[in-house]
């Protein structure tokens, strides 16, 4: 009888959970899942000149993707640059996150607000800010000139995009790191010190492993945001650096090749899937 009772409450609870989840599942199916399925379908449609979408059932878009080395090139460039930006954002954000994590009281709140505050400004505005910094007559090159160095080419190339994206993605990286720093225990660090570990050894043997969940989460988030970012590469690249996101935009909006854009979008989704697999494996190994 007790068993029947348990089953009754269990199924009752399941019903309640299903009911509570129903709205979000419904909304997600319509605004997220359906459009993606639609993209997938369009990638098998023929592209007609002038923006038309022809009959389906063709692998032509996918052949083009595989044959034309241009697509392989932009894919490698996108992934490579995103990995670099992720690494740089991690290196720049980690000390900041560690410092904020250890701060106390009002000081910590203040630092936290400071970290989040860039997110209150649009990425477009911040990107234009970087133009003022990186341009030939910008802040950095003027300073270099005053010090007697020759100017550097920082804008309208990959360097500019990497610098800009790193800064723009840092708040996300810091937030993700902070979210994953829960296991960090100052007592463990002290225990390591008393056992003879120097601060450097303590950092690599204790602090880094204990913050690994935050590192993994931050890198996943940063990489995904970087691969899909469009505005910053567009502005800081000046239309001369070709990446997956800018190419999708060009095909969809400029050449009106929707099936081509859809195919590239699915490719981006596959890259995200791969990133998720790497992330899941890393987290599983940590546990």
């Amino acid at each position: 009888m007790a068993q029947a009772d348990d089953m009754h409450t269990a199924s009752g609870r399941f019903g309640l959970v299903a009911m509570l989840l129903a709205p979000i599942i419904l909304v997600n199916s319509f605004v997220f899942l359906l459009p993606i399925l639609n993209l997938f379908r369009i990638s098998f449609n023929e592209a007609l000149p002038g923006g038309g979408i022809g009959p389906g059932g063709t692998l032509e878009n996918w052949y083009k993707l595989a044959e034309d080395s241009y697509y392989l090139e932009i894919m490698l460039r996108s992934v490579g640059m995103s990995l670099l930006v992720t690494l740089l954002a991690l290196l720049c954000s980690y000390p900041i996150a560690l410092y904020v994590h250890r701060a106390k009281g009002a000081w910590r709140t203040f630092l936290f607000v400071l970290v989040v505050s860039p997110l209150l400004t649009s990425a477009v505005v911040r990107t234009y800010g970087w133009i003022a910094m990186l341009a030939d007559q910008g802040l950095i090159n003027n300073a270099l000139g005053l010090l007697g160095f020759s100017p550097l080419r920082l804008l309208y190339n990959q360097t500019g995009i990497v610098i800009g994206l790193t800064e723009i993605l840092m708040p996300y990286m810091i937030l993700a790191l902070l979210a994953g720093f829960g296991r960090l225990d100052p007592r463990c660090e002290e225990a390591a010190l008393t056992l003879g570990a120097t601060p450097v050894q303590t950092f690599w043997r204790i602090i880094v492993p204990l913050t690994a969940p935050g590192i993994a989460l931050g890198c996943l988030l940063c990489f995904v945001l970087c691969v899909s970012s469009f505005i910053t590469p567009r502005i800081l690249g000046g239309g001369r650096v070709f990446l997956l996101a800018t190419e999708i935009y060009d095909q969809a909006i400029v050449t009106l090749n929707w099936p081509g854009a859809a195919t590239l979008s699915i490719l981006v989704l596959v890259i995200f899937g791969a990133a998720l697999v790497v992330y899941t494996r890393a987290v599983n190994r940590l546990n």
Binding site: C188, E190, A191, A192, T194, L195, R205
Partner: protein, 361 residues
């Protein structure tokens, strides 16, 4: 034998605290602390919560800097040495095990930092694991262990590096009573077997008295008394020590020579005093008798039982003596049931069991 050993080592203290002081912004946590720990002894830092025990321990370990004063080990001043150069094993209150490492890796950590060869690490880790009786747990993570087992890992991790000094910060406070008693004897046993000099922080007076060679009683950052458990219990230096180390009845009185007037009764003191005094008698040193029983050569007052608390091994009586409440503890026996409230009784105790201090304030 233990006393002979401590007397011999007394002049050559191994760990010395010289005028140690710690100030947090404007709060003095430890004030002018002098302490000498002979080699191979276990001493307790005993005091109420917040009296500066952990702060003192952290200054010894090098985890907190001393505002003033010195920490000396074997005659060497290590006040400014970083913790990783101090060769001290610390068992933290929260154990502070590394959650991402197995039991064996936790214990091996200190040896790896010391660049001990691999084969020797394996041998010493295995040795430490059997010393704390954790065989078979080598590959477990800390979260897969009970509190007592985690405690043993923390102990093994601190012991395996063969530190010159072992520091414990209330290591038993997170264990249940039965396990606590077990670990108490185990820690004492291991410490004596290995002859390690150790400092044991606790707020539990029975733990300090039962385990340690000497006890330093701290109060509000100051050392109140440093002595053997017997000295502390039988000859407390002041009312704080007397009441913190064991229970006492505290009774105001006026002394003239060896006689002190406590309420309507005359109490004999072991040594003469004058003026306002505070008389203290430990509840279990008082014998109960019939109201007309006499006790030649002993102190004696009469009263009425007003409260009885039966705890199995002991029974505690609250007794009304001329308007003041006295507490008396008696061992129980199946031969006689406890007294009942309202019974008139006499309370008697030896003159030597009477403590007296000049009244404060």
């Amino acid at each position: 034998m233990a006393t002979a050993q401590s007397a011999a080592a007394g002049d050559g203290a191994f760990l010395s605290l010289r005028g140690l002081r710690k100030v947090y912004t404007d709060f003095v946590a430890v004030e002018n602390l002098h302490l000498d720990v002979p080699k191979g002894e276990l001493i307790a830092l005993l005091g109420p919560s917040g009296c500066g025990k952990t702060t003192t321990l952290r200054m010894i370990a090098g985890l907190a800097s001393a505002t003033a004063g010195h920490v000396m080990v074997g005659g060497r001043d290590i006040t400014s040495a970083p913790p990783y150069d101090r060769d001290m094993g610390v068992v933290f209150q929260s154990y502070a095990l590394f959650p991402h490492m197995t039991v064996a890796k936790n214990i091996a950590f200190g040896l790896q930092m010391r660049k001990v060869p691999r084969a020797e690490i394996d041998r010493r880790v295995a040795e430490a694991i059997s010393l704390v009786r954790l065989n078979g747990m080598e590959e477990r993570r800390p979260r897969e262990l009970s509190g007592g087992q985690q405690q043993r890992v923390a102990l093994a991790r601190a012991l395996v590096i063969r530190p010159s000094i072992l520091l414990f910060d209330e290591p038993l406070s997170n264990l249940d009573a039965k396990l606590r008693d077990e670990m108490r004897t185990e820690i004492r046993d291991i410490q004596q077997r290995l002859g390690i000099t150790a400092v044991f922080v606790t707020h539990d007076q029975s733990e300090a008295l039962a385990m340690c060679d000497k006890v330093a009683v701290l109060n509000a950052g100051r050392l109140e008394q440093f002595g053997s458990p017997i000295e502390l219990y039988e000859h407390p230096a002041n009312p704080f020590v007397a009441s913190f180390v064991g229970r006492v009845n505290r009774l105001p009185g006026t002394a003239a020579g060896t006689t002190v007037k406590v309420g309507a009764h005359d109490v004999i003191l072991p040594k003469p005093m004058t003026g306002a005094v505070e008389v203290m008698v430990r509840p279990h040193r008082i014998a109960l008798g019939g109201p007309s029983d006499t006790a030649p050569g002993a102190n004696r007052v009469t009263g009425t039982i007003s409260q009885v608390a039966y705890a199995g091994d002991l029974v505690q009586y609250g007794i009304d003596v001329g308007g003041t409440r006295w507490f008396v503890e008696q061992q129980t026996t199946a031969a006689r049931p406890p007294e009942v409230p309202g019974t008139p009784v006499s309370l008697s105790w030896r003159v030597e069991d009477t403590l007296a201090f000049p009244a404060q304030g």
